[in-house]
């Protein structure tokens, strides 16, 4: 398995009134083609900041150091213009809350096709067809009609499907899914996970799956990175991390998952 995406010693620093604070500290990991890396940790552990940092999407004032390479090409330090051609094109993102992540003022078709046209060019008509095909691929029924609908006219699960359709419309080599199932109910979660796994197997896209839910990670990821307060606590194959956690924090996280056979004091 060749390494598609290599992150080494990634550190993200925010200036505060009490001096600079590292919110991500020396994080290193690799993602291969067809491979899924799960990044897991509680809120504020630096998972999302890691994802935003690799695409240069951090809030103003944040500083990054280390190395982020996609197919051997260094991304950190690239100009905004160069990064734009990577975003959505080579590396795509799916965010947590699909309702607020889609612009309520435009149809989903336009939001998919504007991205396709930006990276691939072509006519409005052909971009629209791409949008319809993308919606069809993620299982939106009647895509030719739905393409002209607005985000609020879709259900929560469908909206996340739209986000995934958008993220995959330019056939990126890496997909970063930042808590894509957190805002959804359990049955819809399962459907979205199934869809992601299926799309990944057909497209060969590498994936970084960020979540606080260990159960989700165990079902989807080959490798796992556990983070806490910006520190990479444990990194290894899913099997290693889940069956023989080396770090106390990972054990704690695993113990925090409720099990069906747990005894509960009523």
């Amino acid at each position: 398995m060749s390494d598609l995406f290599v992150v080494e010693d990634l550190t993200v620093t925010f200036p505060t009134s009490r001096g600079p604070v590292d919110v991500v500290k020396n994080v290193s990991f690799t993602v291969g083609r067809d491979d899924t890396l799960g990044i897991v940790g509680e809120s504020g552990s630096g998972k999302s900041m890691t994802a935003l940092a690799v695409l240069g999407l951090l809030p103003r004032g944040a500083r990054t150091s280390g190395s982020v390479k996609l197919d051997g090409i260094e991304l950190l330090g690239k100009s905004e213009r160069d990064l734009r051609s990577v975003r959505g094109n080579a590396i795509s993102m799916v965010f947590q809350d699909p309702l607020s992540s889609l612009n309520p003022y435009y149809t989903v078709g336009l939001q998919i096709s504007e991205m396709y046209q930006t990276h691939r060019g072509g006519s409005r008509r052909s971009a629209r067809q791409v949008a319809i095909d993308a919606l069809d691929r993620v299982g939106i029924p009647d895509p030719a009609r739905r393409v002209d609908h607005y985000p609020h006219q879709f259900s929560g699960g469908q909206r996340q499907r739209v986000m995934i359709a958008m993220a995959l419309c330019c056939s990126p080599s890496l997909l970063i899914a930042d808590e894509p199932t957190t805002a959804l109910d359990v049955t819809v979660q399962a459907q979205i996970l199934e869809l992601l796994a299926e799309l990944q197997s057909t497209t060969g896209t590498g994936m970084i799956f960020i979540t606080h839910d260990l159960a989700v990670i165990s079902s989807i990821a080959q490798r796992v990175l556990v983070m806490r307060s910006g520190d990479p606590v444990e990194y290894g194959t899913a099997e290693q991390v889940f069956s023989a956690p080396r770090h106390e924090y990972t054990r704690m996280l695993l113990d925090a998952v409720p099990r069906i056979d747990d005894e509960v004091a009523l």
Binding site: L55, L57, E80, L83, R84, S85, V86, R87, G88, N89, S92, M93, F95, D97, S100, S101, L102, N103, P104, Y105, Y106, T107, E114, M115, T118, H119, Y150, H152, Q153, M163, M166
Partner: protein
């Protein structure tokens, strides 16, 4: 959609009717007897009676109101004088038809309102936008401080200061004169420039602050982050994913402000001696000229109510979320 529009228009008719009734009651019933006022100093009880008769003041209140409403749509009879529709009565002071007084002055008020609106929209929205993009810089801070100052200055003060500086001291502008655009566009423009600026300053400052905070709010929206993550160009992100959502709420405020101004900019018109609806209102109040007061009040209410409906309908076009609820 058609049902929504019809519903809105129906409510407009009801609101205007209610405004009519209240204005009528306030100005004709609670103020001094119009017949006595028209009659003047050399008055006899007989004369007062005959005036009451002509104006229909001795009839029951509801039928008087009905006559007034009928007058607006089909015209009415004052003794031997026929007042053609739309009839708003005759001025107690000049005997002039109120409708012709209004139509003669409306173009002035519309010119003042349109010119000022163009200025304040351009200055306010562009200023606010630049401030939002350059948030926290010296430009942002000084622009917002200036805006706060601008909102705080009463426009009659600004009007007098501008007149003193530009007309009296520097003599770069003439004192506003009633010149039509067709006769002399240059003098026309120079005459309206000061009223436009004076009226626009307060609004522009308010709009700059509004635009700035709306744009800043939008820049922290998740869909703005998505637009960046999609790799769209800077101008496309700005135009589609920041400006459109940020400026849509401003439409509402603009519609209301502009409609309010069409009913006359009372202070600005009076200070600059422009014969618009605002000055007509001020003059008629000073002279207790009830039919004129009544007419300008109704006109202002009419513009505000219509402005409100236009904004509502425009909103259904601008915000798809409203559109669906309304159908």
């Amino acid at each position: 959609m058609t049902r929504y529009v019809l519903g809105r228009l129906g409510s407009v008719v009801l609101i205007l009717l209610a405004v009519c009734l209240f204005t009528y009651l306030i100005f004709f019933k609670l103020s001094p007897d119009p017949a006595v006022m028209i009659c003047g100093k050399t008055c006899t009880p007989d004369r007062i009676d005959s005036i009451r008769n002509v104006l229909g003041l001795n009839q029951p209140l509801l039928s008087q109101f009905w006559e007034f409403l009928r007058g607006i749509f089909v015209g009415r009879q004052y003794g031997s004088v026929h007042c053609p529709a739309p009839c708003l009565g005759y001025s107690f002071q000049t005997n002039e038809s109120v409708w012709s007084m209004i139509t003669a002055r409306l173009p002035v008020s519309v010119t003042v309102a349109v010119g000022a609106a163009v200025l304040w929209l351009l200055a306010g929205v562009i200023g606010g936008l630049v401030s939002a993009i350059k948030q926290g810089t010296w430009w942002d801070r000084s622009a917002m401080a200036l805006a706060l100052g601008g909102v705080s200055v009463p426009n009659y003060v600004l009007a007098l200061v501008l007149q003193y500086v530009l007309v009296v001291k520097l003599q770069v502008l003439p004192f506003p004169a009633a010149v039509s655009f067709v006769d002399n566009p240059v003098v026309w423009f120079e005459s309206y420039l000061m009223p436009w600026v004076v009226l626009a300053v307060g609004y522009a400052c308010l709009y700059a602050r509004l635009t700035r905070s709306n744009v800043i709010d939008t820049l922290s929206e998740n869909y703005y982050r998505t637009a960046r993550a999609k790799g769209l160009s800077g101008s496309l992100i700005m135009r589609r994913h920041a400006l459109r959502p940020a400026l849509t709420p401003i439409t509402t405020i603009f519609g209301m402000d502009f409609a309010g101004l069409l009913g006359g900019a009372l202070i600005t018109e009076t200070v600059f001696g422009l014969n618009g609806i605002g000055k007509l209102a001020a003059d008629s109040i000073a002279k207790n000229d009830q039919p004129v007061i009544m007419a300008v009040t109704l006109l202002a209410a009419f513009f505000v109510v219509i402005g409100n409906v236009v904004v509502d309908l425009l909103y259904t076009a601008l915000d798809p979320r409203v559109r669906v609820v309304s159908t």
